[in-house]
Amino acid sequence: MTNTIGCIEKADVILVTGSNTTENHPVLSSFVKRAVKSRGARLIAVDPRRVKIARHAHMHLRQNLGTDVAWINGMMNVIIAEDLYDKAFVESRTEKFEELKKLVIKYTPDYVEAIAGIPAQQLIDAARMYAGAGVASIVYCMGITQHSHGTDNVKSLANLSMLCGNLGMEGGGVNPLRGQNNVQGACDMGGLPNVYPAYQPVSDLAIAKKFEEAWGVSGLPTKVGLQVTEMVPKAHEGEIKALYIIGENPLVSDPDLNHAEESIAKLEFLVVQDIFMTETAKMAHVVLPSKCFAEKDGTFSNTERRVQRVRTAVPPPAEAWDDWKIICEIGSRMGLPMAYENSEAIFEELRKVTPSYAGITYARIDQEGLHWPCPNEEHPGTPVLHKEQFTRGKGLFHAIEYTPPAELTDDRYPMYLTTGRLLYQYHTGTMTMKSEGLNDRAPECFVEIAPVDAARLGLDDGARVKVASRRGGIKAVVQISSKARPGTVFIPFHYAQAAANRLTHAALDPISGIPEFKVCAVKLEKAA
């Protein structure tokens, strides 16, 4: 997030898109709802599904799946045509505005209606509402990123925010909601194929040299590595021969699971380090038991870049170890001594090579976390990014054309499928499915379908239905709901027994490598 969670309550207008906020970030959603209820903020929800946050919204725009660039361009078309944009901000803090302006000319409300299915007047009203705000916040999640053109979607939202001068101020910003407790931290700490901690490029020789000195090694690789979604197919092709998987369950969470299973089965060696015998761990050659969050010390970095303490509350079961200790033991056996007294000793080392964390210490975050960047121990942290200038200097507008999703419906697969999470389950369910109470509330996989589609297909609520895509099929229970957009069904991806990812498409965004979980074509038929 460019801004903080607390900042959301200071916005005049909040645009929530591609985020089922009340189910996936419930506590954060209450900041949005309070802004509307107590402060009179206006809320625009843009989502194909009638998600619960839309109940609190003044406008709900329901776009066709995968048409985000079109409606965002459309809003900018209206804002520029009606002269509602922030000229001073555009003038002083951005560049390439003319290119953007030229491109969005054709995205008139009528043109956008034909692509995105949003009535032209609704788009105009939403554009005026967003641009009319003193300060407006954009909140988005995987509904924006999990597309074959997800990076385009994100850049388009950044365009919209810059156009109205909403960056670098309290209550504004472009705010992605991160779905995992420490996905921010995993990225910050170099858990990515192209960067060291603090996003220092692996291909930069000076950076490599810095890390060689810090770690006392030589010959650090400078070639950018493979992304998760590349490693799995490369395992299929035989280029990747061994995987060491820590605390992940790709055999439920990956797209096109049938193919992913074949790929993993081809590995010469698979190590899985986890707290449970997951679907992925079952395929491993060696399984290493690790501690869960309640058994370990350390830090997590949340979606607003706040680095917070994790503390040991209970002893681990039997011989479960800290994840760091396991890795260090393997590293030491392979020739690099990696010995640390505790997690704080590791933190002390990492902050020396991670400029954005340099000023953070366990003592400083004992009571309250700090937002990175925090370059030195006197620095108060940075709740709001881009205040004076952007990281690159001026904010760059990207003129982006709409392109359709990678897989479209046809006669054989006439409906769209979109996937996501539920309030009562979490990701692949390895943790939440151990709670009777949570299972009681969300016991099994279902297919959410609009009443009109259910009637057309002769499906009753609670009936079993077969859903198939070009890649696989599952059976699940029909849940007729006005939440679903006609022509589109929704399936939660938590349930291994009826894994939605047997259906999903592994088409990747060319830059982020994120799969298009949010759009694929399926057919439905009554299950025998």
Binding site: V27, S30, V183, G225, Y244, I246, W324, R333
Partner: protein
């Protein structure tokens, strides 16, 4: 100085900001005014009247939570009139439900009959489930009153136990409305409200349905807000007493919001979870997963020993053997097929320190940049 915003509380001249209530000024200056219904951040309702204070020149006592501080006001927070009023309120509340703790008051026969009635309704032989952790009980001690000043009233509505998370015990509800505010003003889930206005008032969900059939999303904000034993976590009720537990502050392990939690630990087990009050980013709020989704920690299915697969089956191994096996096989594959034939999936679930170590291991030991995690999934 004369035009400054000042008032006097218990003889102390204090500044106030326009709009501040008497209660807020007092609390900011460490003057304790007791409250039951007051919920920070929500609209003051003045419902319980426990926070009444005496303002010189005013005809009646005023609710300090709902009365704005005014220039020149002279306030007494524990005057005889105030104390008398509070005693009366507490006595009425104590006599109006199953408040079966030591302060219920006793003349022998009634006490026994009352205990037996409550214990039968609760199917428990213990005192009140929140005995020792109850704001009403605190006040009864503070003002040295008991519940036998007035005749007891029968339990108006049966207990609701049909959902997996929360027991709603209407016999102990004092209708302070904190739960209603927590639900409607803090979490804005709009699931519960006052129903049946008048004497049989009840906090209802939807049209007086069980929580599981209403808009309730089981965030438990109401449980954390309840000052008495009307709303209690099902797993905790009659199982855990606060003095048996130690609280450990940590960060939630589910989504990326990073809510601050208190893990309540008893005998080496997490037995309850509450939101850490007053701390960002969540200021005490949690969701159903954060508050109730902790069973996995002590699940029987946890992995407890390293496992090595042989002939398609896992067998237990020592750490020495497992680590040697992993290091050996990774070294072999690295030597035979090159560093880039190995990949590491680090994790968005583990700590920064551990991700840093995974990054160091991949790059400095394996000598590849094939490291990634599920940010994309």
């Amino acid at each position: 100085m004369a035009d400054e915003n000042r008032l006097v509380i218990n003889g102390n001249e204090l500044r106030f900001e326009p709009g501040e209530t008497i209660l807020e000024v007092a609390r900011r200056n460490d003057i304790d005014i007791p409250t039951l219904c007051y919920l920070k951040g929500a609209t003051p309702t003045g419902a319980c009247r426990v926070c009444v204070v005496e303002v010189e020149g005013a005809r009646t006592l005023v609710a300090s939570c709902a009365t704005p501080a005014a220039k020149g006001m002279v306030v007494h927070t524990e005057s005889p009139k105030v104390v008398e009023a509070r005693k009366m309120i507490i006595q009425l509340l104590l006599s109006s439900g199953n408040h079966n703790c030591a302060v219920r008051g006793s003349d022998g026969v009634d006490w026994t009959a009352f205990q037996l009635k409550v214990q039968a309704e609760d199917s428990s032989e213990e005192l009140c489930p929140v005995w020792g952790d109850c704001r009403l009980q605190d006040l009864a001690y503070r003002y040295q009153v008991s519940g036998d000043a007035f005749e007891g009233t029968p339990t108006p509505y049966p207990m609701e136990t049909v959902n997996p998370f929360i027991v709603r015990d209407f016999s102990r509800c004092i209708l302070c409305g904190r739960c209603v505010q927590a639900c409607n003003e803090v979490q804005v889930n709009n699931a519960i409200n006052f129903g049946y206005r008048g004497s049989p008032t009840k906090i209802v969900a939807a049209e007086d349905k069980p929580l599981r059939d209403s808009d309730c999303v089981f965030c438990g904000e109401c449980v954390q807000a309840c000052p008495v034993g009307a709303l209690v976590e099902k797993n905790v009720r009659y199982q855990v007493r606060p003095w048996e537990t130690e609280k450990v502050r940590t960060t939630c392990t589910y989504c990326g919001v990073g809510c601050q939690l208190e893990l309540h630990v008893k005998d080496g087990k997490v037995v309850n979870v509450t939101g850490a009050e007053g701390a960002p980013p969540n200021y005490g709020s949690l969701c159903v997963k954060g508050r109730f989704g902790y069973d996995f920690i002590h699940s029987e299915e946890r992995l407890t020993k390293p496992l090595i697969k042989e002939d398609g089956r896992f067998r237990e191994a020592t750490w020495e053997e497992a680590l040697d096996r992993v290091a050996g096989r990774l070294s072999e594959i690295k030597d035979q097929s090159g560093p880039d034939s190995i990949g590491v999936f680090t994790s968005a679930r583990i700590t920064n320190e551990e991700n840093y170590i995974a990054n160091k291991f991949t790059r400095a030991v394996l000598k590849t940049n094939n490291i990634d995690h599920c940010a994309r999934l």
